[in-house]
Amino acid sequence: MTLDLSMNKYADVSMEEKERLFAEVKADERWHHVLYGCYECGICVASCPSARFYDFSPRVIAQAVAREDVDLIYTLMNDSIWDCSQCFSCDRCPRQNSPGQIITVMREVAVKNGLQTAKQALEGYGRIIYKIMSTGSQVSPDMLQPDAFPDWGVHVNEIAENLDIWRKALPPETLHTTETGWTIDDKTIIELYLIWHMTGVMDLIEGIDEGLFMILVDVMEERLEDAGYDVTFD
């Protein structure tokens, strides 16, 4: 297994642009708490579930950023960082490096700068982003569909068809939902929408997925207006 360094898959950009992107990574306030030094013990790789299944190594991430190899960092930012499952098993590093958190920062920079590869990587998560941002509940029971989750096995068909009944079989009434993970009250939703508004999260979404941005704005503005807030996201 070798790391693909052919730059053919990504937009070729100037060295200045690669340096600018890395400078943005380093400017993040978390930066000084996620990278110290690496003595190549391999504990991060040994504990990494993604490393077992993909051409991915948390050690490559930590070493590339430590060396400030902006060429390689740009490649990783377009590729490897999206293979990480963000489980932070690599946090057991004896030097307190956190490749997982370095990746978190790199992903945020990739998203903020609207890299095409970030758009592609997040394409499959559109509905999850829509769910968490519009309802506050990340995963909804009705995502269990045979076409979306064939790996759940043959019983997924029966669950999907009778989802409403399965949910009603759960003792807490707050779980008798199919479109959200649980019942979410109005106060929570309004607070959530105001947080999205005040923190500029919607600007990130607009750069990544215009269609998703449009429908979220529609949902949020209407609900906020009903609650007496005069807020626009455009």
Binding site: G126, R127, Q145, A148, L212, M214, I215
Partner: protein
């Protein structure tokens, strides 16, 4: 009347906004019916929820008139024309897969009263021109349409 490109059905009498995968049918009463194309339903997969904006909503072309959700995907139906929503397809609330099974007939999304129909139609493609544009699109994106059980026969 009906054409197929890579198994994707197109009605040549409709007007298409190819990049948004929507169609417009001009009705005799001055309204237009708007819906999603066969390509759109195929890319989305079996639809779980389709929620149209309320009757009376005024939309400029390019703005969302409905939200469609499938297992892992969500996206807007962008209005191909400017105007006011005068009717929504109530059947989609309980049978969202009508969008998959009958995208050009029973699975229509909204009816609108257009505000600048002639001007907006000039931006849309119809007939052989639309078929050619779709052929180029499905070839470029590697799309072959798939149809779920119960899909309308054409």
């Amino acid at each position: 009347m009906i054409s197929k490109v890579n198994e994707c059905v197109l009605f040549t009498n409709l007007h298409y906004k190819v990049e948004d995968n929507t169609w417009v049918r001009v009705n005799d009463d001055g309204t237009v019916t708007v819906g999603m194309t066969d390509v759109a339903q195929s890319l989305a997969g079996p639809v779980l929820h389709a929620k149209a904006k309320k009757v009376g909503t005024v939309r400029k072309k390019g703005r969302p008139i409905a939200t469609v959700e499938s297992g892992k995907w969500v996206g807007p139906v962008k209005s191909p024309i400017s105007g006011e929503i005068v009717e929504i397809n109530e059947n989609l609330a309980s049978q969202a897969t009508l969008l998959n099974k009958s995208p050009y007939n029973e699975g229509w999304v909204v009816k609108m009263k257009p505000s600048a129909l002639e001007e907006d139609l000039a931006d849309l493609l119809t007939g052989e021109e639309a078929v050619k544009a779709y052929q180029a699109k499905v070839d470029a994106d590697g799309i072959t349409c798939t149809h779920i059980e119960g899909t309308e026969e054409y």
